[in-house]
């Protein structure tokens, strides 16, 4: 059974058909890429997968279960986490608290509001456990030294990485990365590629990423889907898709 199966997904905004007849199958543990020119509808697909938009047509299955029409919060609890193209950190919270906020729904760290106010012993125990877990996740991206910085004071590249850490903290089955390398220099992109691969292997995650950087896509994605004007232009193994004349035309023009 595939981890994620999307069937004939489509959405219209008024008269505009933003995404049409979108199909996608991702196996467990896969690193899958979704590419396409600006305005092709990639982020719209992400927004449908995470419940921000309700699709007009089609179905979404996660591990064989129908997820269509569920809310963002429910979908996150079911195991879909994401990052954003325009960074959306909790800017006034510390780096550590950004990650701890994302541990909110993890059963092993839950305590009631009253426990928190009364500072019962379990509060101290669970907060300590949360600190440890959050630090462990921050270490994956080498952010442990900045743990007590305000999130908005991090340099740009690290803010992007913190978004990934925050999404990972919700312990998802499927991680959606929206242009993780946007605005990064080639060195940072290389580092990011290694980390994404490492995350997939170590945390046993399935990753779907949107990306413009062809080097990153060619370097880590096993399979690709190319979207253009809301429709699938090509899909399949990375090497073949990138050689497809239709894809080259869509990217470079006639």
């Amino acid at each position: 059974m595939p981890m994620l199966e999307v069937k004939n997904l489509g959405i219209s905004f008024g008269g505009l058909r933003a995404v049409d007849d979108f199909n996608l199958t991702i196996e467990k543990g896969e690193l899958y890429g979704l590419i396409g020119p600006n305005g092709a509808g990639k982020t719209t697909v992400f927004n449908m997968l995470t419940g921000v938009y309700k699709p007009t047509d089609g179905k979404i299955f996660l591990d064989g279960e129908d997820m269509t029409g569920k809310s963002t919060v429910e979908l996150n609890k079911e195991g879909i986490a994401r990052t954003f193209q325009n960074i959306r950190l909790f800017s006034d919270l510390s780096v550590l608290d950004n990650v701890k906020a994302a541990l909110h729904n993890q059963k092993e760290y839950m305590y009631s509001t009253l426990t928190g106010i009364l500072r019962l012993p379990s509060f101290y125990r669970l907060e300590k456990a949360m600190d440890e877990r959050a630090m462990e996740l921050l270490e994956v991206f080498g952010l442990e030294k900045e743990a007590h910085y305000k999130a908005s004071n991090l340099p740009y590249g690290k803010q992007r990485e913190l978004e990934i850490v925050r999404a990972m903290a919700t312990n998802p089955k499927l991680l959606l990365l929206d242009e993780p390398a946007a605005g990064m220099n080639p060195n940072e992109t290389q580092g990011l590629m290694d980390t994404i691969r490492f995350v997939r292997d170590k945390f046993d995650m399935t990753i779907l990423l949107i990306e413009h950087d062809m080097k990153l896509v060619a370097g880590i994605c096993e399979r690709l889907t190319v979207l253009n004007f809301g429709q699938i232009l090509a899909a399949g193994g990375t090497a073949e898709v990138l050689k497809d004349p239709k894809v080259i035309t869509a990217y470079l023009g006639e």
Binding site: T50, V52, T72, V73, N76, K77, A81, R82, F84, R88, L89, F90, S91, D92, L93, D97, K100, A101, A102, H104, N105, Y109, M110, Y111, T113, T115, G116, I117, L118, R119, F123, L126, E127, R166, A167, A169, T170
Partner: protein
């Protein structure tokens, strides 16, 4: 615990300031050096400090502008004063009566907070502010129209006038419309006020630095991202709003039991009061609990201390407010403060020596 966290230390300082202020006031009062004016101000100071701290939970931590805070205070005040007036004979010990009154005021204001929060928190920003303003006024005007009496047959309630209550000979009117509640025992004391303030601080500070507080602040900083990590927006917004309302109710209880006659006037429960509380919060620093408490105390004392200046009093108050606002929030002033802060000046000298 060898190394105390910065947060824990900061919280301790806040509690310390309150306790120190209490001790100093008690000593000055005990040695007979406090004017009767100041003595009369002690309980109101606690009331305003509690109000400022509780509003900061909505404005600073939840990040929503509420202009109806005095409405919740009004609910707490009237609910508890009604209780105390009915129970004056039944519970003779003032402290016990007061504690029960606080519980009733807090619960009633909290319930109002939930009921109002459910429709209001669907809105954001300016719209939310206007609607809370309206709700605050509605509460005040409703309270002004309530007639409540008790006789041997039980409670009688009317929204018209005293006659329509249909009380028997032995009946007693508890709430008399716009004339409010008269003759409820004045159970508030400075000590009880300080204890309530400490409890409020304890609840708010502990709430902020917990799982719930992080969720609330995450919603404030980025609602979409908070949703994406599975935080239930509605639940936590209503929770923060109603806790803030409940604590305002506690302030109302303290306020009501400091007066012999409790009436709902624009001055004490209208939007003027809501805005005064908001001024405390903004001046003290949005999100800074200690700051809002201190600014509530300073801004409440200021007009009283300037009383000798008669009509210039409010003018000076206004000027002080403007100057303080500029000094606290204007970017240029912040830069200036940083450049000439004592720590920085000392640090610079050391560097120059090298």
């Amino acid at each position: 615990m060898k190394k105390m966290s910065k947060r824990a230390r900061s919280n301790l300082i806040t509690y310390g300031i309150v306790i120190l202020a209490y001790v100093v006031c008690e000593i000055v009062k005990g040695t007979g050096n406090m004017s009767s004016l100041m003595q009369g101000l002690l309980v109101p100071l606690c009331v305003y400090a509690i109000l400022a701290v509780s509003l900061n939970l909505t404005v600073g931590i939840l990040g929503e502008l509420s202009l109806g805070h005095a409405g919740f205070m009004c609910v707490g005040a009237f609910a508890s004063a009604t209780f105390t007036k009915c129970m004056e004979q039944a519970i003779p010990i003032p402290t016990v009566r007061f504690i029960l009154a606080v519980l009733i005021g807090v619960v009633c204001a909290g319930i109002c907070g939930v009921l109002i929060g459910i429709p209001v928190l669907r809105l954001r920003g300016d719209y939310l502010a206007i609607v809370t303003l309206a709700f605050g006024e509605i509460i005040k005007n409703l309270v002004n129209a309530i007639y409540l009496g008790v006789d041997s047959r039980g409670f009688h309630f009317s929204m018209k006038d005293t006659l329509s209550l249909g009380l028997e000979e032995d009946g007693e009117i508890i709430i008399k419309g716009a004339q409010g509640i008269t003759g409820a025992p004045s159970d508030s004391t400075f000590t009880l006020g300080i204890i309530l303030l400490l409890i409020t601080l304890f609840i708010v500070l502990n709430l902020i630095h917990s799982r719930t507080g992080r969720a609330i602040m995450a919603i404030r900083d980025n609602r979409i991202a908070a949703e994406s990590i599975g935080i239930n927006i509605t639940k936590y917004k209503i929770m923060a709003f109603s806790i803030s309302a409940a604590l305002a109710g506690a302030a109302g209880v303290l306020y009501a039991h400091n007066l012999s006659t409790l009436t709902a006037l624009p001055k004490n429960f209208g939007y003027n009061m809501s805005i005064t509380i908001l001024v405390f919060v903004v001046l003290g620093g949005i999100g800074s609990i200690r700051g809002s408490m201190i600014s509530a105390v300073v801004l409440t004392m200021l007009p009283e201390l300037l009383r000798s200046l008669d009509e210039y009093r409010m003018l000076i108050y206004a000027v002080v407010l403007i100057v303080a606002m500029i000094f606290t929030w204007s970017p240029a002033a912040i830069g200036l403060r940083e450049r000439y802060s004592p720590a920085k000046l000392l640090g610079k000298k050391e560097k120059e020596v090298q």
